[in-house]
Protein backbone atom coordinates (compact mmCIF):
# COMPACT_ATOMS: atom_id res chain seq x y z
CA UNK A 1 0.00 0.00 0.00
CA UNK A 2 2.80 2.41 -0.79
CA UNK A 3 0.32 4.45 -2.81
CA UNK A 4 -1.42 5.53 0.35
CA UNK A 5 1.74 6.71 2.10
CA UNK A 6 0.70 10.37 2.17
CA UNK A 7 -2.66 9.53 3.68
CA UNK A 8 -1.20 7.08 6.22
CA UNK A 9 1.41 9.64 7.26
CA UNK A 10 -1.34 12.09 8.08
CA UNK A 11 -3.19 9.39 10.01
CA UNK A 12 -0.08 8.43 12.00
CA UNK A 13 0.74 12.03 12.78
CA UNK A 14 -2.77 12.58 14.11
CA UNK A 15 -2.69 9.39 16.17
CA UNK A 16 0.53 10.50 17.89
CA UNK A 17 -1.11 13.77 18.88
CA UNK A 18 -4.61 12.45 19.61
CA UNK A 19 -4.46 8.88 20.95
CA UNK A 20 -8.21 8.80 21.56
CA UNK A 21 -8.86 8.83 17.80
CA UNK A 22 -7.73 5.16 17.73
CA UNK A 23 -9.70 3.27 15.09
CA UNK A 24 -12.01 6.25 14.51
CA UNK A 25 -9.67 7.56 11.84
CA UNK A 26 -9.86 5.77 8.51
CA UNK A 27 -8.00 6.13 5.23
CA UNK A 28 -10.80 5.23 2.82
CA UNK A 29 -8.89 5.46 -0.43
CA UNK A 30 -6.25 7.66 -2.00
CA UNK A 31 -6.92 11.31 -1.11
CA UNK A 32 -9.80 10.50 1.25
CA UNK A 33 -9.42 10.37 5.05
CA UNK A 34 -12.26 10.52 7.53
CA UNK A 35 -12.45 10.62 11.30
CA UNK A 36 -15.11 10.69 14.00
CA UNK A 37 -14.51 12.73 17.12
CA UNK A 38 -16.73 13.59 20.09
CA UNK A 39 -17.87 17.13 20.64
CA UNK A 40 -15.52 17.64 23.59
CA UNK A 41 -12.37 17.10 21.52
CA UNK A 42 -13.72 18.40 18.23
CA UNK A 43 -12.32 21.91 18.28
CA UNK A 44 -8.88 20.75 19.31
CA UNK A 45 -8.62 18.23 16.46
CA UNK A 46 -10.17 20.68 14.00
CA UNK A 47 -7.77 23.52 14.76
CA UNK A 48 -4.80 21.12 14.67
CA UNK A 49 -5.86 19.98 11.18
CA UNK A 50 -6.18 23.57 9.99
CA UNK A 51 -3.20 25.17 11.70
CA UNK A 52 -0.64 22.35 11.78
CA UNK A 53 -1.59 19.89 9.03
CA UNK A 54 -2.28 22.31 6.18
CA UNK A 55 -6.00 21.61 5.75
CA UNK A 56 -6.56 25.28 5.11
CA UNK A 57 -9.83 25.20 3.24
CA UNK A 58 -13.31 24.20 4.22
CA UNK A 59 -15.36 22.79 1.32
CA UNK A 60 -18.67 22.46 3.09
CA UNK A 61 -20.34 21.22 6.26
CA UNK A 62 -22.82 18.36 6.03
CA UNK A 63 -25.42 18.21 8.78
CA UNK A 64 -27.13 14.96 9.79
CA UNK A 65 -30.20 14.02 11.75
CA UNK A 66 -29.30 10.58 13.07
CA UNK A 67 -32.29 9.93 15.29
CA UNK A 68 -30.84 10.20 18.82
CA UNK A 69 -28.41 12.92 17.88
CA UNK A 70 -27.38 15.43 15.26
CA UNK A 71 -24.02 15.27 13.58
CA UNK A 72 -21.93 17.59 11.47
CA UNK A 73 -19.25 16.59 9.01
CA UNK A 74 -16.65 19.19 8.14
CA UNK A 75 -15.05 18.58 4.74
CA UNK A 76 -11.54 20.03 4.78
CA UNK A 77 -8.98 20.03 1.99
CA UNK A 78 -5.29 20.76 1.67
CA UNK A 79 -3.51 21.90 -1.47
CA UNK A 80 -2.38 18.39 -2.41
CA UNK A 81 -5.87 17.18 -3.24
CA UNK A 82 -6.52 15.34 0.04
CA UNK A 83 -10.00 15.63 1.57
CA UNK A 84 -10.31 15.20 5.34
CA UNK A 85 -13.87 14.57 6.56
CA UNK A 86 -14.11 15.27 10.28
CA UNK A 87 -17.41 14.31 11.88
CA UNK A 88 -18.67 15.23 15.31
CA UNK A 89 -21.88 14.44 17.18
CA UNK A 90 -24.25 16.97 18.73
CA UNK A 91 -26.84 15.84 21.31
CA UNK A 92 -30.47 16.62 20.44
CA UNK A 93 -31.21 17.57 24.04
CA UNK A 94 -28.77 20.45 23.78
CA UNK A 95 -28.05 21.07 20.09
CA UNK A 96 -25.22 23.57 20.43
CA UNK A 97 -21.83 23.63 18.75
CA UNK A 98 -19.15 26.31 18.83
CA UNK A 99 -18.39 28.12 15.59
CA UNK A 100 -15.19 27.35 13.69
CA UNK A 101 -15.17 30.81 12.08
CA UNK A 102 -12.43 31.90 14.52
CA UNK A 103 -10.20 29.07 13.22
CA UNK A 104 -11.03 29.18 9.51
CA UNK A 105 -12.85 31.80 7.43
CA UNK A 106 -14.94 30.87 4.46
CA UNK A 107 -17.24 28.52 6.35
CA UNK A 108 -19.78 31.05 7.59
CA UNK A 109 -22.53 30.19 5.10
CA UNK A 110 -22.22 26.48 5.81
CA UNK A 111 -22.61 27.10 9.55
CA UNK A 112 -25.68 29.23 8.88
CA UNK A 113 -27.09 26.28 6.93
CA UNK A 114 -26.78 24.11 10.06
CA UNK A 115 -28.77 26.73 11.98
CA UNK A 116 -31.57 27.05 9.42
CA UNK A 117 -31.90 23.49 8.19
CA UNK A 118 -31.36 21.52 11.42
CA UNK A 119 -31.93 24.00 14.24
CA UNK A 120 -28.43 23.44 15.59
CA UNK A 121 -27.29 26.53 17.50
CA UNK A 122 -23.86 27.68 16.45
CA UNK A 123 -22.26 29.60 19.32
CA UNK A 124 -20.14 32.59 18.42
CA UNK A 125 -21.44 32.90 14.86
CA UNK A 126 -21.01 36.53 13.76
CA UNK A 127 -24.20 38.54 13.29
CA UNK A 128 -25.51 38.57 9.75
CA UNK A 129 -28.28 37.61 7.38
CA UNK A 130 -29.72 34.12 7.77
CA UNK A 131 -29.14 31.50 5.07
CA UNK A 132 -30.82 29.89 3.16
CA UNK A 133 -34.44 30.14 4.38
CA UNK A 134 -36.57 33.25 3.84
CA UNK A 135 -37.08 35.86 6.55
CA UNK A 136 -40.70 34.93 7.17
CA UNK A 137 -39.97 31.23 7.72
CA UNK A 138 -41.92 29.94 10.76
CA UNK A 139 -40.08 29.30 14.02
CA UNK A 140 -39.24 25.73 14.91
CA UNK A 141 -39.45 24.35 11.36
CA UNK A 142 -36.20 22.69 10.34
CA UNK A 143 -36.51 21.15 6.86
CA UNK A 144 -33.61 18.71 6.93
CA UNK A 145 -34.67 17.04 10.17
CA UNK A 146 -35.86 13.54 9.35
CA UNK A 147 -39.26 14.05 11.02
CA UNK A 148 -39.99 17.16 8.96
CA UNK A 149 -42.12 17.15 5.84
CA UNK A 150 -43.60 19.93 3.76
CA UNK A 151 -47.12 19.39 5.10
CA UNK A 152 -45.96 20.71 8.46
CA UNK A 153 -45.76 24.17 6.90
CA UNK A 154 -49.55 24.38 6.51
CA UNK A 155 -51.60 25.88 9.33
Amino acid sequence: MTELSRENNIKDQLLVKFKFLGDKIVVKRDRRISADVDLLNFREVFSYLVNDMGFLRICMITGFDEGENFAAKYHLTDDKGIVFDLKTYIPKTNPVIKTVSDIISGGLLYERELVDMFGIKVEGLPEGERYPLPDGWPEGQYPLRKDWNKDMLKD
Binding site: G63, H75, P132
Partner: protein, 409 residues
Protein backbone atom coordinates in the same frame (compact mmCIF):
# COMPACT_ATOMS: atom_id res chain seq x y z
CA UNK B 1 -21.13 63.49 3.49
CA UNK B 2 -22.18 60.45 5.50
CA UNK B 3 -22.53 56.89 4.36
CA UNK B 4 -25.27 56.09 1.85
CA UNK B 5 -26.72 52.60 1.63
CA UNK B 6 -27.91 51.30 -1.72
CA UNK B 7 -29.78 48.02 -2.08
CA UNK B 8 -28.99 46.03 -5.22
CA UNK B 9 -31.31 43.07 -5.73
CA UNK B 10 -32.93 40.68 -5.20
CA UNK B 11 -34.43 41.80 -8.50
CA UNK B 12 -32.07 44.11 -10.34
CA UNK B 13 -31.14 44.59 -14.00
CA UNK B 14 -27.44 44.20 -13.20
CA UNK B 15 -27.95 40.77 -11.63
CA UNK B 16 -28.82 37.70 -13.66
CA UNK B 17 -30.27 35.82 -10.73
CA UNK B 18 -31.79 36.83 -7.42
CA UNK B 19 -29.32 37.79 -4.71
CA UNK B 20 -29.47 40.85 -2.58
CA UNK B 21 -26.55 43.16 -1.88
CA UNK B 22 -26.67 46.10 0.47
CA UNK B 23 -23.86 48.40 -0.59
CA UNK B 24 -22.59 51.10 1.79
CA UNK B 25 -21.08 54.04 -0.06
CA UNK B 26 -18.86 56.92 0.90
CA UNK B 27 -19.11 59.10 -2.17
CA UNK B 28 -18.46 56.72 -5.06
CA UNK B 29 -16.39 54.31 -2.98
CA UNK B 30 -17.81 51.14 -1.51
CA UNK B 31 -17.10 50.83 2.20
CA UNK B 32 -19.11 47.77 3.14
CA UNK B 33 -21.18 45.05 1.45
CA UNK B 34 -24.00 43.11 3.04
CA UNK B 35 -25.31 40.02 1.28
CA UNK B 36 -28.53 38.03 1.45
CA UNK B 37 -28.71 34.74 -0.41
CA UNK B 38 -31.12 31.86 -0.66
CA UNK B 39 -33.75 33.26 -3.03
CA UNK B 40 -33.22 30.31 -5.34
CA UNK B 41 -33.21 27.63 -2.64
CA UNK B 42 -35.28 24.77 -4.00
CA UNK B 43 -34.85 22.15 -1.29
CA UNK B 44 -33.01 19.72 -3.53
CA UNK B 45 -31.16 18.01 -0.66
CA UNK B 46 -34.44 17.19 1.09
CA UNK B 47 -36.02 16.12 -2.20
CA UNK B 48 -33.08 13.79 -2.90
CA UNK B 49 -33.70 11.89 0.35
CA UNK B 50 -37.19 10.95 -0.83
CA UNK B 51 -36.17 9.68 -4.25
CA UNK B 52 -34.32 6.64 -5.50
CA UNK B 53 -30.78 6.92 -6.85
CA UNK B 54 -32.08 6.59 -10.39
CA UNK B 55 -34.69 9.33 -9.85
CA UNK B 56 -31.98 11.49 -8.29
CA UNK B 57 -29.90 11.55 -11.48
CA UNK B 58 -32.21 13.95 -13.35
CA UNK B 59 -32.88 15.88 -10.12
CA UNK B 60 -29.21 16.50 -9.35
CA UNK B 61 -28.53 17.35 -12.99
CA UNK B 62 -30.99 20.22 -12.57
CA UNK B 63 -29.09 21.87 -9.73
CA UNK B 64 -27.58 24.09 -12.40
CA UNK B 65 -28.51 24.92 -15.95
CA UNK B 66 -24.97 25.48 -17.11
CA UNK B 67 -22.92 23.02 -15.06
CA UNK B 68 -25.52 20.26 -15.31
CA UNK B 69 -22.96 17.64 -16.35
CA UNK B 70 -20.72 18.70 -13.46
CA UNK B 71 -23.38 18.01 -10.86
CA UNK B 72 -24.59 14.73 -12.29
CA UNK B 73 -20.99 13.50 -12.66
CA UNK B 74 -20.08 14.51 -9.11
CA UNK B 75 -23.18 12.77 -7.77
CA UNK B 76 -22.74 9.58 -9.79
CA UNK B 77 -19.06 9.39 -8.85
CA UNK B 78 -20.01 9.43 -5.18
CA UNK B 79 -22.73 6.79 -5.58
CA UNK B 80 -20.49 4.58 -7.73
CA UNK B 81 -17.74 4.80 -5.10
CA UNK B 82 -20.13 3.65 -2.36
CA UNK B 83 -21.46 0.80 -4.50
CA UNK B 84 -17.92 -0.21 -5.45
CA UNK B 85 -18.75 -0.04 -9.15
CA UNK B 86 -15.91 0.80 -11.51
CA UNK B 87 -17.27 2.36 -14.70
CA UNK B 88 -15.76 1.38 -18.09
CA UNK B 89 -12.81 3.41 -19.31
CA UNK B 90 -14.68 4.52 -22.41
CA UNK B 91 -17.41 5.99 -20.19
CA UNK B 92 -14.75 7.90 -18.26
CA UNK B 93 -13.47 9.40 -21.50
CA UNK B 94 -16.97 10.34 -22.62
CA UNK B 95 -17.65 12.03 -19.27
CA UNK B 96 -14.41 13.96 -19.74
CA UNK B 97 -15.34 15.04 -23.28
CA UNK B 98 -18.80 16.28 -22.25
CA UNK B 99 -17.30 17.99 -19.19
CA UNK B 100 -14.80 19.89 -21.31
CA UNK B 101 -17.39 20.83 -23.96
CA UNK B 102 -19.48 22.16 -21.09
CA UNK B 103 -16.50 24.24 -19.97
CA UNK B 104 -16.15 25.71 -23.47
CA UNK B 105 -19.79 26.77 -23.64
CA UNK B 106 -19.69 28.13 -20.09
CA UNK B 107 -16.50 30.17 -20.57
CA UNK B 108 -17.70 31.60 -23.89
CA UNK B 109 -20.99 32.49 -22.26
CA UNK B 110 -19.09 34.24 -19.48
CA UNK B 111 -16.99 36.16 -21.96
CA UNK B 112 -20.15 37.52 -23.54
CA UNK B 113 -21.67 38.48 -20.20
CA UNK B 114 -18.44 40.18 -19.13
CA UNK B 115 -18.34 42.10 -22.42
CA UNK B 116 -21.94 43.17 -21.92
CA UNK B 117 -21.34 44.32 -18.34
CA UNK B 118 -18.58 46.68 -19.43
CA UNK B 119 -20.51 48.00 -22.43
CA UNK B 120 -18.59 45.99 -25.02
CA UNK B 121 -21.60 44.36 -26.65
CA UNK B 122 -19.75 43.43 -29.83
CA UNK B 123 -17.83 40.93 -27.71
CA UNK B 124 -21.14 39.55 -26.44
CA UNK B 125 -22.47 39.10 -29.99
CA UNK B 126 -19.26 37.50 -31.24
CA UNK B 127 -18.66 35.11 -28.36
CA UNK B 128 -22.27 33.95 -28.17
CA UNK B 129 -22.30 33.35 -31.90
CA UNK B 130 -19.20 31.19 -31.53
CA UNK B 131 -20.73 29.48 -28.52
CA UNK B 132 -23.39 28.12 -30.86
CA UNK B 133 -20.69 25.90 -32.41
CA UNK B 134 -20.27 24.03 -29.15
CA UNK B 135 -24.00 24.13 -28.32
CA UNK B 136 -24.82 22.47 -31.65
CA UNK B 137 -22.14 19.90 -30.99
CA UNK B 138 -23.54 19.12 -27.55
CA UNK B 139 -27.03 18.84 -29.03
CA UNK B 140 -25.72 16.44 -31.67
CA UNK B 141 -23.88 14.22 -29.18
CA UNK B 142 -26.34 14.23 -26.31
CA UNK B 143 -29.62 15.32 -27.87
CA UNK B 144 -29.77 18.42 -25.68
CA UNK B 145 -28.19 21.86 -25.65
CA UNK B 146 -28.28 21.91 -21.85
CA UNK B 147 -29.19 19.20 -19.31
CA UNK B 148 -27.37 16.66 -21.45
CA UNK B 149 -28.54 13.61 -19.47
CA UNK B 150 -25.37 11.81 -20.52
CA UNK B 151 -24.60 10.27 -17.15
CA UNK B 152 -26.13 7.12 -15.82
CA UNK B 153 -25.12 5.33 -12.66
CA UNK B 154 -22.49 2.92 -13.92
CA UNK B 155 -21.40 4.87 -16.99
CA UNK B 156 -22.94 7.03 -19.67
CA UNK B 157 -26.16 6.68 -21.67
CA UNK B 158 -24.85 7.36 -25.15
CA UNK B 159 -21.74 6.47 -27.07
CA UNK B 160 -19.73 8.91 -29.15
CA UNK B 161 -19.18 7.19 -32.49
CA UNK B 162 -16.46 7.84 -35.08
CA UNK B 163 -18.55 10.38 -36.99
CA UNK B 164 -19.26 12.43 -33.88
CA UNK B 165 -15.61 12.24 -32.89
CA UNK B 166 -14.77 13.81 -36.26
CA UNK B 167 -17.28 16.56 -35.62
CA UNK B 168 -15.75 17.28 -32.23
CA UNK B 169 -12.28 17.64 -33.76
CA UNK B 170 -13.62 19.92 -36.50
CA UNK B 171 -15.47 22.09 -33.98
CA UNK B 172 -12.39 22.28 -31.77
CA UNK B 173 -10.39 23.66 -34.72
CA UNK B 174 -12.97 26.40 -35.27
CA UNK B 175 -13.27 27.22 -31.57
CA UNK B 176 -9.52 27.30 -31.09
CA UNK B 177 -9.11 29.83 -33.86
CA UNK B 178 -11.86 32.02 -32.39
CA UNK B 179 -10.40 31.74 -28.88
CA UNK B 180 -7.02 32.88 -30.21
CA UNK B 181 -8.81 35.93 -31.58
CA UNK B 182 -10.35 36.65 -28.16
CA UNK B 183 -7.00 36.18 -26.43
CA UNK B 184 -5.61 38.68 -28.88
CA UNK B 185 -8.37 41.15 -27.97
CA UNK B 186 -7.93 40.57 -24.24
CA UNK B 187 -4.20 41.11 -24.33
CA UNK B 188 -4.03 43.98 -26.86
CA UNK B 189 -7.28 45.96 -26.75
CA UNK B 190 -6.45 48.92 -24.52
CA UNK B 191 -10.05 49.87 -23.66
CA UNK B 192 -10.83 46.38 -22.37
CA UNK B 193 -7.57 46.08 -20.42
CA UNK B 194 -8.04 49.48 -18.78
CA UNK B 195 -11.68 48.80 -17.93
CA UNK B 196 -10.95 45.47 -16.23
CA UNK B 197 -7.56 46.11 -14.62
CA UNK B 198 -7.52 46.86 -10.91
CA UNK B 199 -11.26 46.19 -10.61
CA UNK B 200 -12.46 43.72 -7.98
CA UNK B 201 -9.00 42.88 -6.66
CA UNK B 202 -8.48 40.10 -4.15
CA UNK B 203 -5.10 38.97 -2.83
CA UNK B 204 -3.76 35.44 -2.90
CA UNK B 205 -3.89 35.32 0.92
CA UNK B 206 -7.58 36.28 0.96
CA UNK B 207 -8.38 33.75 -1.75
CA UNK B 208 -6.84 30.97 0.35
CA UNK B 209 -8.51 32.24 3.53
CA UNK B 210 -11.99 32.56 2.02
CA UNK B 211 -11.82 29.29 0.10
CA UNK B 212 -12.31 30.89 -3.33
CA UNK B 213 -12.30 28.27 -6.09
CA UNK B 214 -11.94 27.87 -9.84
CA UNK B 215 -10.80 30.56 -12.29
CA UNK B 216 -11.52 33.23 -9.66
CA UNK B 217 -8.94 31.70 -7.33
CA UNK B 218 -6.48 30.87 -10.10
CA UNK B 219 -6.52 34.51 -11.27
CA UNK B 220 -5.03 35.37 -7.88
CA UNK B 221 -2.16 32.95 -8.32
CA UNK B 222 -3.57 29.92 -6.51
CA UNK B 223 -2.67 26.76 -8.43
CA UNK B 224 -5.72 24.74 -7.56
CA UNK B 225 -7.60 22.61 -10.06
CA UNK B 226 -9.46 19.46 -9.03
CA UNK B 227 -8.71 17.92 -12.44
CA UNK B 228 -5.03 17.90 -11.41
CA UNK B 229 -5.23 17.74 -7.59
CA UNK B 230 -7.88 15.07 -7.23
CA UNK B 231 -8.19 13.50 -10.72
CA UNK B 232 -11.51 11.92 -11.67
CA UNK B 233 -12.97 10.55 -14.93
CA UNK B 234 -10.07 10.33 -17.45
CA UNK B 235 -8.12 13.40 -16.30
CA UNK B 236 -5.26 11.34 -14.89
CA UNK B 237 -4.45 10.31 -18.51
CA UNK B 238 -4.58 13.85 -19.90
CA UNK B 239 -1.74 16.27 -20.33
CA UNK B 240 -2.65 19.87 -19.67
CA UNK B 241 -1.51 22.90 -17.69
CA UNK B 242 -3.29 24.62 -14.84
CA UNK B 243 -3.56 28.25 -15.90
CA UNK B 244 -2.90 30.85 -13.25
CA UNK B 245 -2.44 34.58 -13.33
CA UNK B 246 -1.13 37.16 -10.91
CA UNK B 247 -3.29 40.16 -11.80
CA UNK B 248 -5.71 39.25 -8.96
CA UNK B 249 -8.45 41.37 -10.60
CA UNK B 250 -11.28 41.00 -13.12
CA UNK B 251 -8.77 41.27 -15.94
CA UNK B 252 -6.85 38.29 -14.53
CA UNK B 253 -10.08 36.29 -14.33
CA UNK B 254 -10.79 36.99 -18.01
CA UNK B 255 -7.27 35.97 -19.04
CA UNK B 256 -7.40 32.76 -16.99
CA UNK B 257 -10.70 31.70 -18.54
CA UNK B 258 -9.51 32.39 -22.08
CA UNK B 259 -6.17 30.63 -21.69
CA UNK B 260 -7.93 27.78 -19.93
CA UNK B 261 -10.00 27.26 -23.07
CA UNK B 262 -6.82 26.49 -25.00
CA UNK B 263 -6.01 23.77 -22.45
CA UNK B 264 -9.55 22.44 -22.81
CA UNK B 265 -9.04 22.03 -26.56
CA UNK B 266 -5.84 20.11 -25.80
CA UNK B 267 -7.77 17.78 -23.48
CA UNK B 268 -10.57 17.31 -26.04
CA UNK B 269 -8.10 16.34 -28.79
CA UNK B 270 -6.34 13.86 -26.50
CA UNK B 271 -9.62 12.37 -25.29
CA UNK B 272 -10.95 11.87 -28.82
CA UNK B 273 -7.62 10.45 -30.02
CA UNK B 274 -7.13 8.02 -27.15
CA UNK B 275 -10.70 6.98 -26.38
CA UNK B 276 -10.57 3.23 -25.70
CA UNK B 277 -12.99 0.74 -27.23
CA UNK B 278 -15.52 -1.08 -25.12
CA UNK B 279 -18.82 -0.70 -23.30
CA UNK B 280 -20.09 2.66 -22.12
CA UNK B 281 -21.83 1.42 -19.00
CA UNK B 282 -22.05 -1.45 -16.56
CA UNK B 283 -25.05 -2.78 -14.67
CA UNK B 284 -25.73 -0.79 -11.56
CA UNK B 285 -27.59 -2.21 -8.53
CA UNK B 286 -30.86 -0.57 -7.46
CA UNK B 287 -29.93 -0.83 -3.80
CA UNK B 288 -26.70 0.75 -2.73
CA UNK B 289 -24.91 -0.75 0.29
CA UNK B 290 -24.47 1.41 3.39
CA UNK B 291 -21.52 3.73 3.10
CA UNK B 292 -20.52 7.26 2.27
CA UNK B 293 -18.37 9.13 -0.22
CA UNK B 294 -17.19 12.65 -0.92
CA UNK B 295 -16.77 13.47 -4.57
CA UNK B 296 -15.17 16.51 -6.16
CA UNK B 297 -15.38 17.89 -9.69
CA UNK B 298 -13.78 20.90 -11.37
CA UNK B 299 -16.83 22.62 -12.84
CA UNK B 300 -16.33 25.65 -15.15
CA UNK B 301 -16.77 27.91 -12.10
CA UNK B 302 -14.59 25.86 -9.78
CA UNK B 303 -14.75 23.04 -7.31
CA UNK B 304 -18.07 21.26 -7.06
CA UNK B 305 -18.43 19.01 -3.99
CA UNK B 306 -20.98 16.26 -3.45
CA UNK B 307 -21.34 14.07 -0.39
CA UNK B 308 -23.62 11.03 -0.38
CA UNK B 309 -24.47 8.75 2.52
CA UNK B 310 -26.18 5.46 1.68
CA UNK B 311 -28.14 3.27 4.11
CA UNK B 312 -28.50 0.05 2.13
CA UNK B 313 -31.84 0.92 0.52
CA UNK B 314 -32.59 2.30 -2.94
CA UNK B 315 -32.76 5.86 -1.56
CA UNK B 316 -29.90 7.89 -0.14
CA UNK B 317 -29.83 8.74 3.56
CA UNK B 318 -28.29 12.14 2.94
CA UNK B 319 -27.14 14.10 -0.10
CA UNK B 320 -25.17 17.29 0.41
CA UNK B 321 -23.70 19.43 -2.29
CA UNK B 322 -21.87 22.69 -2.63
CA UNK B 323 -21.66 24.49 -5.94
CA UNK B 324 -18.62 26.67 -6.70
CA UNK B 325 -20.54 29.96 -6.69
CA UNK B 326 -21.39 29.40 -3.03
CA UNK B 327 -17.69 29.28 -2.20
CA UNK B 328 -16.92 32.29 -4.40
CA UNK B 329 -19.72 34.56 -3.21
CA UNK B 330 -18.03 34.78 0.17
CA UNK B 331 -15.15 36.60 -1.50
CA UNK B 332 -17.30 39.10 -3.40
CA UNK B 333 -17.60 41.44 -0.40
CA UNK B 334 -13.81 41.54 -0.16
CA UNK B 335 -13.47 42.21 -3.92
CA UNK B 336 -15.92 45.11 -3.82
CA UNK B 337 -14.25 46.97 -0.94
CA UNK B 338 -12.86 50.35 -2.03
CA UNK B 339 -14.17 49.92 -5.56
CA UNK B 340 -16.53 52.29 -7.33
CA UNK B 341 -20.27 51.65 -7.36
CA UNK B 342 -20.12 51.38 -11.17
CA UNK B 343 -17.80 48.37 -10.85
CA UNK B 344 -20.34 46.30 -8.93
CA UNK B 345 -21.94 44.54 -11.95
CA UNK B 346 -18.70 43.42 -13.58
CA UNK B 347 -17.13 42.39 -10.26
CA UNK B 348 -20.10 40.19 -9.43
CA UNK B 349 -20.18 38.86 -12.99
CA UNK B 350 -16.45 38.09 -12.82
CA UNK B 351 -16.95 35.17 -10.44
CA UNK B 352 -19.38 33.90 -13.09
CA UNK B 353 -22.38 33.37 -10.84
CA UNK B 354 -24.56 30.66 -12.23
CA UNK B 355 -27.89 31.20 -13.95
CA UNK B 356 -29.93 29.07 -16.28
CA UNK B 357 -31.86 29.96 -19.34
CA UNK B 358 -33.38 27.16 -21.31
CA UNK B 359 -36.58 28.45 -22.90
CA UNK B 360 -36.16 28.23 -26.62
CA UNK B 361 -37.59 27.30 -30.00
CA UNK B 362 -36.31 24.18 -31.68
CA UNK B 363 -35.14 24.11 -35.25
CA UNK B 364 -34.97 20.66 -36.74
CA UNK B 365 -33.24 19.67 -39.92
CA UNK B 366 -35.76 17.40 -41.62
CA UNK B 367 -33.58 14.66 -43.06
CA UNK B 368 -36.13 13.15 -45.46
CA UNK B 369 -37.31 16.37 -47.13
CA UNK B 370 -34.11 18.38 -46.60
CA UNK B 371 -36.25 21.27 -45.34
CA UNK B 372 -35.85 23.27 -42.17
CA UNK B 373 -38.81 23.18 -39.84
CA UNK B 374 -39.60 25.35 -36.88
CA UNK B 375 -41.30 23.70 -33.94
CA UNK B 376 -43.12 26.22 -31.82
CA UNK B 377 -43.90 26.02 -28.13
CA UNK B 378 -47.51 25.22 -29.07
CA UNK B 379 -46.43 22.34 -31.34
CA UNK B 380 -44.31 20.90 -28.54
CA UNK B 381 -47.30 21.10 -26.24
CA UNK B 382 -49.56 19.34 -28.72
CA UNK B 383 -46.96 16.62 -29.20
CA UNK B 384 -46.81 16.01 -25.49
CA UNK B 385 -50.63 15.92 -25.23
CA UNK B 386 -50.71 13.30 -28.03
CA UNK B 387 -47.94 11.34 -26.35
CA UNK B 388 -49.76 11.09 -23.00
CA UNK B 389 -53.01 10.15 -24.72
CA UNK B 390 -51.34 7.45 -26.80
CA UNK B 391 -48.95 6.00 -24.23
CA UNK B 392 -50.72 6.51 -20.93
CA UNK B 393 -54.39 7.05 -21.81
CA UNK B 394 -54.37 10.47 -20.17
CA UNK B 395 -56.16 13.29 -21.95
CA UNK B 396 -54.88 16.78 -21.24
CA UNK B 397 -56.62 18.41 -24.21
CA UNK B 398 -59.43 19.91 -22.10
CA UNK B 399 -57.04 21.27 -19.52
CA UNK B 400 -54.86 22.71 -22.26
CA UNK B 401 -57.87 24.45 -23.79
CA UNK B 402 -58.85 25.90 -20.42
CA UNK B 403 -55.37 27.33 -19.84
CA UNK B 404 -55.29 28.72 -23.34
CA UNK B 405 -58.59 30.50 -22.79
CA UNK B 406 -57.33 31.95 -19.53
CA UNK B 407 -54.33 33.21 -21.42
CA UNK B 408 -51.82 31.49 -19.17
CA UNK B 409 -50.19 29.63 -22.03
Amino acid sequence: MGTVKIPIGPQHPALKEPESFLISLNGEKITDVGMRLGYNHRGIEKAAEGRTYIQNMPLLERVCGICSHSHSTAFSQAVEEIAGVEIPKRAKYIRTIIGELERVHSHLLWLGVAGHEVGFDTLLMYSWRDREVVMDLLAEITGNRVQYAMNALGGVRRDIDKEKQEHILKAVDVLEERTKYYINIATKETTLIKRLSGVGSISKEDVIKLGTVGPTGRASGVTRDIRKDDPYAAYADMEFNVITDTHCDVYGRAVVRLLELMETYKILRQAVKNIPDGDVSVRFPRRVPAGEATSRYEAPRGEDVHYVKANGTDKPERVKLRAPTMANLQSVAKMLENNNLADVPITIAAIDPCFSCTDRMIKIDNVSSGKLEMITWGDLRNQSIDFYKREHGLDFAELNKKYRERGTL
